[in-house]
C-alpha cells in the first residue's frame, strides 16, 4: 500500500497536470497536498454572497473551439476540457498611465490590435506587424523545440527558425528598439510585462512575444466557476485514471539512497511512502533547503543562484452595485506610474512606493458571476523585494489596509469610477497569505525571476542539466516554463512525460 511509482508533491497547476500525465503513462500515482483543497493559487473562496477567484485573471492560449491554443490542446489530451465551462474575455487589456497621458484599450485579434495601435500611435503599423511576424515564427520554433523535448538540431533551428535564434538572446526592450517601434507603441505593447514579473530590460523577448501573440490571436478564457473548477476537474480526472489524492497531507522529507537519488517520501506525522520518482510542485529552495539531507554542493550553488520573483498581494472586493452603476467599463486593467518598466520595477520594491495594479472586474467577462446588482473585482500587485519581511505581526493588519487604500485610490483616480462606498465584502491576500497556503519563500507567486541569464530559452535548453537528482523533477512556477497558469500547466505536462520516460528507462 505504501509503494507508488511516483509521488507528486503539491496539487498546484503543475502538480495536477503532472499527475494526469503520469497516470496516462501507466504509473501508479499518489498526489499529496498539504492544504485541504487542490489548485494552489488556482482556487476560489466565498465571502458573504460572493465567490472570489483567487488568482486567475484570464487563461492564455486556450482559445475558442476551432481556434484552440496549446492549452486547449493540452486540456483535450488530458481529458478535462469538457468538464469545464468556459467564458471568453471581451478585450485584451486597458492600460492607463495617467502621468504620461496614456489610456489605451487594446482588443483581441491580430488585425484589430494592429489597427487600434495605428490609431493610437500613427506610424506604428510596420513595427507592430513585424512584432507579430516574429511572434508567429517564435511560436513555430517553440513547437518544434517541444516536439523534440528540447533536444533540437541546431542547423534546423538556424535554417527554419532563424528569427527565433537571432532574437533569442535579447530582452524585450532590445528587440523592440531594433524593430524601430515608436516609443508610445512600445509602452502600450509592453503592458503585459507585469504578468511575467520581470522588467523589459531583463525579460526575454521570445518569451514575452510568444505570450502576447497567444493572447491577441486566440483571445483569453475564464472557467465559469473560477479556477477552482479547473482544479476540481483535474482531480476528477486523476481519480478516473486510478490516482490517489491525499489532502491535508504535507510531504516533510524526500529520502535518497546511495546514488543520491529518490527512494521515498516521508509525510508529516512520519508515514513513509516508497517511490523512486517525485515531482515537486514547489520551489527547489524549499525542497533542497529543508526536505532533503546531504544535498550536493553543486545543487546548493545552482539553487542559490536563482532570484525570487514577485511576492504577491491581492485585494478582492464584493461590491453592492453593478459594474454599470459603478462605471467600471472593462474586464482587465493595467495601471502603472510609468511606462519605463525598469523604473516601475524599482518602485515595486517598497510597500510605500508600489502603486502598480493589474485589476479585473469579473462581471465584464461573466455578468452572472455575482448576484444581480453586484460586482466582483480583484486587484493584484507584486513586490520586487522582501519588503513584507519588515512588517511586524502587530502592524500587519494596518499595513494590509494601507495597501488596500492605495489600490482603491489609484483605481478611482485613474478610471474615474467610484467604488469605495460600495464595498460589501473585502478580502486581502498578502505575501504572508501566499506563504501560508503555498509555502513559497517570501510569499512569492511568480517562481524564479526571468532574469536576463535565466529566461525561458536557456531554461528549456538546460532541462537535462537542471535534472540534478535522480528521480526528482520540478513542476510549477519555479520550473522550466516559468510562472503563470499556462506555463505551470505546461511544466506539469513536460515533467510528467519526462518522468514516464525515466520510468521506462529503468524498465
Amino acid at each position: 500500500m505504501d509503494r507508488y511509482d511516483a509521488v507528486v508533491i503539491g496539487a498546484g497547476n503543475g502538480g495536477l497536470v503532472a499527475a494526469i500525465r503520469l497516470l496516462q503513462g501507466g504509473a501508479k500515482v499518489l498526489l499529496v497536498e498539504k492544504h485541504n483543497l487542490p489548485g494552489g493559487f488556482a482556487t476560489s473562496f466565498r465571502r458573504g454572497r460572493f465567490e472570489f477567484e483567487a488568482s486567475l485573471h484570464e487563461l492564455n492560449d486556450f482559445g475558442p473551439e476551432g481556434n484552440g491554443g496549446d492549452v486547449r490542446d493540452l486540456f483535450d489530451s488530458l481529458g478535462v476540457t469538457d468538464k469545464i465551462e468556459w467564458v471568453p474575455i471581451p478585450d485584451a487589456y486597458r492600460v492607463i498611465i495617467r502621468r504620461e497621458n496614456l489610456d489605451a484599450l487594446m482588443p483581441f485579434g491580430k488585425q484589430a490590435f494592429i489597427d487600434k495601435m495605428e490609431r493610437y500611435v500613427p506610424g506604428s503599423r510596420q513595427s507592430v506587424e513585424r512584432f507579430f511576424e516574429l511572434g508567429e515564427q517564435i511560436r513555430a520554433a517553440q513547437a518544434y523545440t517541444n516536439s523534440r523535448n528540447g533536444a533540437v538540431d541546431s542547423s534546423v533551428m538556424v535554417r527554419e527558425y532563424g528569427n527565433y535564434v537571432r532574437t533569442g538572446s535579447y530582452s524585450v526592450n532590445e528587440v523592440l528598439a531594433s524593430l524601430r517601434m515608436p516609443q508610445r507603441a512600445r509602452d502600450i505593447i509592453n503592458a503585459y510585462w507585469c504578468y511575467l514579473g520581470a522588467h523589459c530590460d531583463d525579460l526575454s523577448f521570445t518569451h514575452y512575444v510568444s505570450m502576447v501573440i497567444r493572447y491577441i490571436t486566440r483571445g483569453a478564457m475564464m472557467p465559469k466557476m473560477r479556477s477552482h473548477e479547473i482544479s476540481l476537474a483535474m482531480c476528477e480526472r486523476i481519480r478516473e485514471l486510478g490516482g490517489d489524492i491525499w489532502f491535508n497531507t504535507e510531504a516533510a522529507k524526500i529520502l535518497t539512497g546511495n546514488d543520491g537519488g529518490v527512494e521515498g517520501v516521508v509525510l508529516k506525522g512520519g508515514r513513509q511512502i516508497k517511490t523512486r520518482h517525485v515531482i515537486a510542485n514547489c520551489s527547489p529552495h524549499v525542497v533542497y533547503g529543508k526536505m532533503m539531507d546531504g544535498v550536493p554542493e553543486k545543487i546548493v550553488r545552482a539553487t542559490n543562484a536563482r532570484k525570487f520573483a514577485g511576492r504577491g498581494f491581492s485585494m478582492f472586493l464584493g461590491l453592492n452595485k453593478s459594474a454599470d452603476e459603478l462605471g467600471i467599463e472593462n474586464h482587465n486593467y493595467f495601471l502603472y506610474d510609468t511606462s519605463d518598466s525598469v523604473k516601475q520595477y524599482e518602485l515595486m520594491k517598497n510597500i510605500d512606493t508600489n502603486r502598480v495594479q493589474a485589476t479585473v472586474c469579473l462581471n465584464r467577462a461573466d455578468p452572472g458571476c455575482s448576484p444581480d446588482g453586484t460586482a466582483i473585482m480583484y486587484f493584484t500587485t507584486l513586490y520586487m523585494s522582501d519588503c513584507w519581511g519588515d512588517v511586524r505581526p502587530e502592524d500587519y493588519a494596518r499595513t494590509k489596509e494601507k495597501v488596500a487604500n492605495i489600490m482603491i485610490d489609484r483605481f478611482e483616480r485613474d478610471t474615474g469610477s467610484k467604488i469605495r462606498d460600495s464595498i460589501e465584502e473585502i478580502s486581502v491576500a498578502t505575501p504572508m497569505t501566499y506563504a501560508h497556503y503555498c509555502g513559497h519563500p517570501e510569499g512569492g507567486i511568480y517562481g524564479y525571476e526571468s532574469q536576463y541569464w535565466d529566461g525561458l530559452n536557456p531554461r528549456l535548453q538546460m532541462m537535462a542539466h537542471d535534472y540534478m537528482t535522480r528521480g526528482l523533477r520540478f513542476a510549477g512556477g519555479y520550473s522550466m516554463r516559468l510562472s503563470g497558469y499556462s506555463s505551470a500547466y505546461f511544466s506539469g505536462d513536460i515533467t510528467g512525460r519526462q518522468t514516464v520516460g525515466d520510468m521506462k528507462k529503468e524498465g
Partner: protein, 383 residues
C-alpha cells in the same frame, strides 16, 4: 520577402549570442555561493504567527464570569496574533472521541502575541461547553486552532463607528474588541449594546465599565429586570437610535432569535446590507424523524464504517465514532472540512455556502450536511 531580424551589424553575432546562453547560465549556476540554503524566510515566519495551525496549549486558569459562564485561559505553545472578534477551536478528548468547538476569543490580540496567553469565555449550553464547565481544570492540555472567521472590523469596508449588539454569550468577541481598542491593536469606535436577562447574566461588566471612554461605550439592556442605570427590555430601534452615532456599521453576535428581532429594528432605522454583519452560529441537530444510516468514510487509504443519524451532521457522526477529521467553524462556511461525496443523499443546513464548482463536482462540508440515506464520503485527514 519575409522579414529577417538583425540587431548586430554583423548578423552572425546574434547567432553567437544565442549559442552562449547555455554556457552563461551554466556559469551563473556554478559560481553562486555554496552557503547553506535558508531553512525559512522572514515572511514565512510572520505567516506562522498569523496562521500558527493547530497547537497544544495548557489551561492555566478557569474563572467564573457570570451565571453558567467561565473564562478559560490557555498558555499557547506557538506565537499568535489574530483580529479582535475572531474565534479559535478548543479541543479535547471526551471519552473515545476527540471533540472541538469554535469559540470567540475574549482576550486581546497583544495578550496572545506578547504574553502567549489566550482566553475563551464559554457559557454552559451544549455537549462540549457542558463538559468544559464540569471538567476543565488548570494543568489540562488542550488543542487550540488557527484564528479564524471574518467577524472583525475592516477599516476599508466599515464605517469607523461600530454599533455592537451582543446577546448572552455573544458578548465575548466584543470584550475582545473593547480590550483591543484599549491596547491599540484595533482602531475604531465601538458602541456596545449588551443585552442579557438579568444583571447576574452580564459578564465582564466591571471591566467593560472600566474600559469605557472616548472610543468605547457600553449600554446594558436587561430584559427581565428593571434597574436604575440599565435599559429595560430588548434592543429595539429606539434604543439603538438613542445611543448610536450618526452613521455607523452594525456587528451582531448572539442567538438566532436575537438576529431575527434585530433585523426588524435595523430595517426600521434603514440600516442594512453591507452595514450589518452577523457572526454565524454552530449548527446543531435538526428536527426530523430519527433514522439510522450507515456512513462509509475514506481517509487516505483507510475505510471506516460508522453509524449516522438523520438528526445529526456527518461531522458529528464521524467525531462520535472517534475519527480524526477536520473541523473548524461548524457552520458550513469556512470550508475546512471540505470532503468528497462518493454516494448518498443529503441535506445542507444554514444555506449552501459551498463554492460553485464544489456543487458541480460533488463536494460537501460535513459540518452542515445531514444524511438522508446511507452515505459514502472521502474526508481529508484531521490534524
Amino acid at each position: 520577402m519575409a522579414y529577417k531580424f538583425r540587431r548586430q551589424i554583423f548578423g552572425f553575432m546574434d547567432l553567437l549570442r544565442f549559442k552562449r546562453m547555455v554556457p552563461v547560465r551554466e556559469n551563473k549556476l556554478a559560481e553562486a555561493p555554496a552557503t547553506p540554503l535558508p531553512l525559512t524566510y522572514r515572511v514565512n515566519e510572520t505567516a506562522k504567527i498569523l496562521h500558527p495551525g493547530l497547537q497544544t496549549a495548557e489551561l492555566v486558569a478557569v474563572e467564573d464570569v457570570a451565571a453558567d459562564m467561565k473564562t478559560y485561559t490557555f498558555r499557547l505553545s506557538k506565537k499568535m496574533i489574530f483580529r479582535a472578534g475572531q474565534y479559535v477551536t478548543v479541543g479535547h478528548n471526551v471519552g473515545e472521541s476527540f471533540v472541538s468547538r469554535p469559540y470567540a476569543v475574549s482576550s486581546s490580540p497583544f495578550t496572545a502575541l506578547r504574553k502567549g496567553e489566550l482566553s475563551v469565555t464559554v457559557k454552559k449550553a451544549g455537549f462540549f461547553s457542558g463538559w468544559l464547565y464540569e471538567n476543565a481544570k488548570p494543568g489540562d492540555s488542550f488543542t487550540i486552532g488557527d484564528p479564524s472567521g471574518f467577524f472583525f472590523y475592516d477599516g476599508v469596508r466599515d464605517r469607523s463607528d461600530i454599533v455592537g449588539i451582543a446577546g448572552g454569550s455573544g458578548i465575548t468577541p466584543f470584550v475582545c474588541m473593547a480590550r483591543a481598542i484599549a491596547e491599540g491593536s484595533e482602531n475604531f469606535n465601538l458602541t456596545l449594546l449588551y443585552g442579557a436577562r438579568t444583571q447576574a447574566d452580564l459578564a465582564f461588566k466591571a471591566e467593560l465599565d472600566r474600559l469605557a471612554g472616548n472610543n468605547f461605550k457600553v449600554v446594558y439592556i436587561l430584559s427581565d429586570e428593571n434597574k436604575p442605570g440599565y435599559e429595560n427590555g430588548f434592543i429595539t430601534a429606539e434604543i439603538i437610535k438613542k445611543y448610536a452615532p450618526e452613521s455607523y456599521s452594525v456587528m451582531l453576535c448572539g442567538p438566532q432569535a436575537m438576529y431575527d428581532f434585530a433585523d426588524k429594528q435595523l430595517a426600521q432605522l434603514g440600516v442594512g446590507g453591507k452595514y450589518v454583519r452577523k457572526e454565524a452560529n454552530c449548527l446543531g441537530n435538526r428536527d426530523v424523524k430519527p433514522e439510522k444510516y450507515n456512513l462509509t468514510v475514506h481517509i487516505r487509504d483507510e475505510v471506516f464504517k460508522v453509524a449516522a443519524d438523520s438528526r445529526e451532521t456527518l461531522l458529528a457522526a464521524m467525531e462520535r465514532a472517534g475519527l480524526k477529521v477536520p473541523s473548524k467553524c461548524r457552520a458550513g462556511g469556512c470550508g475546512y472540512c471540505h470532503s468528497r461525496l462518493i454516494d448518498g443523499k443529503f441535506s445542507i443546513a444554514g444555506g449552501d455556502k459551498r463554492r460553485l464548482a464544489d456543487s458541480k463536482f460533488g463536494y460537501i462540508h460535513p459540518c452542515c450536511t445531514y444524511p438522508d440515506s446511507d452515505m459514502e464520503i472521502e474526508v481529508p485527514q484531521g490534524e
